[in-house]
Amino acid sequence: MENLINIFVRSIFIENMIFAYFLGMCSYLAVSKSVKTATGLGIAVIFVLLVTLPVNYLLENYVLKEGALAWLGSSFAAVDLSFLSFIMFIAVIASIVQLVEMVVEKFAPALYNQLGIFLPLIAVNCAILGGSLFMQQKEFQNIGEATVYSLGSGVGWFLAIVGIAAIREKIQYSNVPKPLRGLGITFIVTGLMGIAFMGFMGIKL
């Protein structure tokens, strides 16, 4: 239990997808003009991470990793398919995003309308594939840890995009130098937020 809380807090504050690894920056910059749409995209990212990461965890540990196919019989024990992991992960992500889109459209039309075009775009959001690749690198003990990690990374991403959207709404009233308006100031503010988040470094539970 302690271990799970540790992973959760670490993935939100210390290894924040945006401030520490810059994952999902494209949509982070493009969709952070208002808090409302940013919230929608943030929720969609949490949701998709939460679904895809455990699936990729199972795929990694029962199909792709060296020796992962041992359950098929001893002749498969030496097979190493890990070079296929990029293409498998992205295929899983793209198809799950499609599936999630159809399910949400059928059962929660209100949410579907709110998320709009963000759902299909999430397939190419670096944060989702990044989550799976970090999962592969960290070698979690069981699927519980992987799920908690995916939830934590999603929440961290959500916090970051809602934060920057709120700041950008206010920044419109300030007198920013002209060449810096829009993109430039957003980069610099994100950098400053990242410095603030570094204050969490070294937290251990």
């Binding site: 070079f83 190419v124 990044g130 130098p177 980069f187």
Partner: protein
């Protein structure tokens, strides 16, 4: 495929040179920032990353452009992803074989080239509706524009943060405080947030020189 333009007509060269400045993928189109920044703490991984992305984007553009009339519209995203993923696997294996230490340093970011928005952006916006040669030039240009920013950021971060370039010492040892000098490395430059601030400053410089790019 009868192409009336000569191979290096002015129009084609523009495809190559525009992305370096006025339609730079990072500072103007805001694409491909995801994987760009985390690898720029030193110059060497930044250069390797720039080359990898340029190779993937140029070849991917050519392949998609050759296939553009046979890809059904509804599943084009999946087709594009598969082409990119296959190319990225190739690049990853080559890096592992020839420059293993850099490949370890880049870690997940080689894989993340797949979801680099520049790739999808260029395939979707250019290769799907243009001939292979133009697409190849467009890919090279955008890769170079991306690489240019990466290398500038990597240059400043390694120089100011570690006092070296490509691992060679630039700032003499005798300048440092520990050796009786007055200089100290700026440790902040190596940390992630400074990559963002450096790009912010590059945008500032570029837009004050080229006023057309200013947003309102």
């Amino acid at each position: 495929m009868s192409d009336k333009d000569p191979l290096f007509s002015a129009k084609n060269l523009k495809l190559l040179s525009d992305p370096l400045n006025s339609s730079n993928p990072i500072t103007v189109q805001v694409l491909g920032i995801c994987s760009a920044l985390a690898v720029t703490a030193q110059l060497k991984p930044a250069i390797v990353m720039a080359i990898s992305v340029t190779v993937v984007i140029a070849l991917g553009n050519v392949i998609i452009s050759l296939l553009r009339n046979t890809i059904p519209n509804r599943i084009r995203i999946i087709v594009q992803l598969v082409v990119i993923a296959a190319l990225v696997i190739l690049v990853d294996q080559v890096l592992k074989a020839f420059v293993y230490d850099v490949s370890k340093q880049l870690s997940v970011f080689v894989g993340l080239i797949i979801t680099n928005c520049i790739l999808m952006g260029r395939l979707e916006a250019f290769a799907m509706s243009n001939k292979p040669w133009q697409s190849f030039l467009d890919g090279l240009g955008n890769g170079a524009g991306y690489g240019l920013i990466l290398i500038i950021v990597g240059f400043f971060r390694e120089l100011l943060g570690s006092g070296s370039l490509l691992g060679f010492r630039i700032i003499p040892e005798s300048w440092y405080i520990t050796n009786g000098g007055v200089y100290a490395n700026n440790g902040m430059m190596i940390l992630p947030p400074m990559a963002l601030i450096t790009i912010g400053l590059i945008i500032w410089v570029q837009r004050s020189r080229n006023r057309k790019l200013i947003e309102n």
